[in-house]
Symmetry: C2
Subunit: 340 residues, 2 copies
Amino acid sequence: MPEYRKDIILDEWVIIATERAKRPENFKEQIIKVDNKALNVCPFDRGNESMTPPESLRIDNRGNEVGKDSPWQVRVVPNKFPALVPNAQPFSQQYGPYMVMDGFGLHEVVVQSPEHITNISELSRWQVELIISVYIRRLIAIKKDNRIESVIIMLNQGKEAGASLEHSHSQIFALPLTPPNLMNEISRTRNYFNQNHRCAMCDIINFETKEDKRVVYENKEFVMLQPYASRNPFETWIVPKRHDSNFENISAQEANSFAQCLKVLVDFFYIDLNNPPFNYYIHTGTLDGTKDNSHYHWHLELEPKLSIKAGFEIATGIDICITTPEYTADYMKAGDFFKA
Amino acid sequence: MPEYRKDIILDEWVIIATERAKRPENFKEQIIKVDNKALNVCPFDRGNESMTPPESLRIDNRGNEVGKDSPWQVRVVPNKFPALVPNAQPFSQQYGPYMVMDGFGLHEVVVQSPEHITNISELSRWQVELIISVYIRRLIAIKKDNRIESVIIMLNQGKEAGASLEHSHSQIFALPLTPPNLMNEISRTRNYFNQNHRCAMCDIINFETKEDKRVVYENKEFVMLQPYASRNPFETWIVPKRHDSNFENISAQEANSFAQCLKVLVDFFYIDLNNPPFNYYIHTGTLDGTKDNSHYHWHLELEPKLSIKAGFEIATGIDICITTPEYTADYMKAGDFFKA
């Protein structure tokens, strides 16, 4: 059973999940092994469906939910080595000066194609649209459980970014608490709203589209930019122009626009930057009923792993970025990927 | 000139330091090149002193400060590709909805040996004592500048941990602000003190030495433990038994005890765990004159890079640890390294 633990110095939850240590692993080697199709049968390939736990969603290539034995385009299954489990209680206990809580939550995998592809860029535009629609369906379904407070949808691209199976997949985590990075964004933009009576992200969109130094792409519904306080070279945000706190509220038209942005962006990384590792994740409003989230502006953040986070970053929490976002924006706009 | 930048969503400073991009680097390759002695002349080796900027401290093998042309055992020099520079002003300006500030600060390198060694474990016990004494001397000297608010002393071991030169070295950063990770520790343990009228770390030492599940080593002055809410496999803290907010207040005897702990720990990583990458850093009280830090308890944290921080950790700020600290403590105590 995974556990949340909290000490009194850092005073933040960590998850101790030793299920993952069941994988072949040896701390005397420096590299975590990645299961490789050449060595192993891939549990995400078409035909190997019985190798995963029972699925929570299966859709066909037209986006329709279909039954267990039908041909599929996207499947959602519980993670076989979950960091969080549903059969647990989200109530903490005291242990000496510390706190401990069962590792309650959901940890799901979105299998993005029945074919063995290893980069999300290999998906076509309509396949990316299917992935987005699956994100939204799962988000709406998961939010019905009132023990869940936040949902994180994310993708690890490449083993250096943490992908332990190479077959392209996203992951969905549902937590009984709001994690600190999301909590900080929500509470700090709440302060900004209380001071200014404006959304901080709406102000950023207005400023950046006028300033035109860091915006790399824009369509009717979305802006894509290199953030001013960029933490990594080529860090990119995809931000909806229409203010909404919750990702799942987007219209079908907005979902297609969002998929267009995401497809362009991952193609740039795959083709122009030669397939570097990256993570992306969606930050969307939480479900803590005691706090209004309507000031918050959902968005996607993509963080490339193009530089190493070293002792300074770990000790301080301050990232050092070795490029300016103005430079990377110019580079991105100079190529063909982000032409309107 | 490096810059501190802050946006209004994350609301935390980052450092944009493009000096470092002058190194041979190509974002289309996935691995940042490490200067290698076989390819390049090492600027930290004996005889190549002119390749570094002028040094701020040079000591001989008896620990005495010596002049420019004398034989040396440890040198402290400004970083040639600094993330922070002293000839700047620590005052921020508004830029649209953001804040920006010159990259004021110090960024120094502690060259740990005139010989070309690549792991701190290759230093003998007395050499580690010299390194500790150099840390303390620089900390005391730097604190005289009242523009400085916090000092971070740290080491990156191995290129995967961010060491861009393989010759063993530590780094010292002096900042005009208190970084968020240190700020969180100080303010949360201040809350703990205000509630309980006891130091949180003193409570941890008392609990852990009684509980005897996570303490791996103890001498008269220090306790070494696997923290209860461990963020990484084999994360280790070295904590002084005597409560003090400031590292530089340790006695000569305590400094030797601290060096003994550090030497045992890095030997374990180098020999038993087969030289994995890690970072260590010292968290010590800040110099913000408006806030009392006397409740804070300085310590060293060593973070191994034995698992990858993936999208979940980046999106949430919650670490997933795939071992329990009880398990790693048992493993460490079973060997010969940590016998009293």
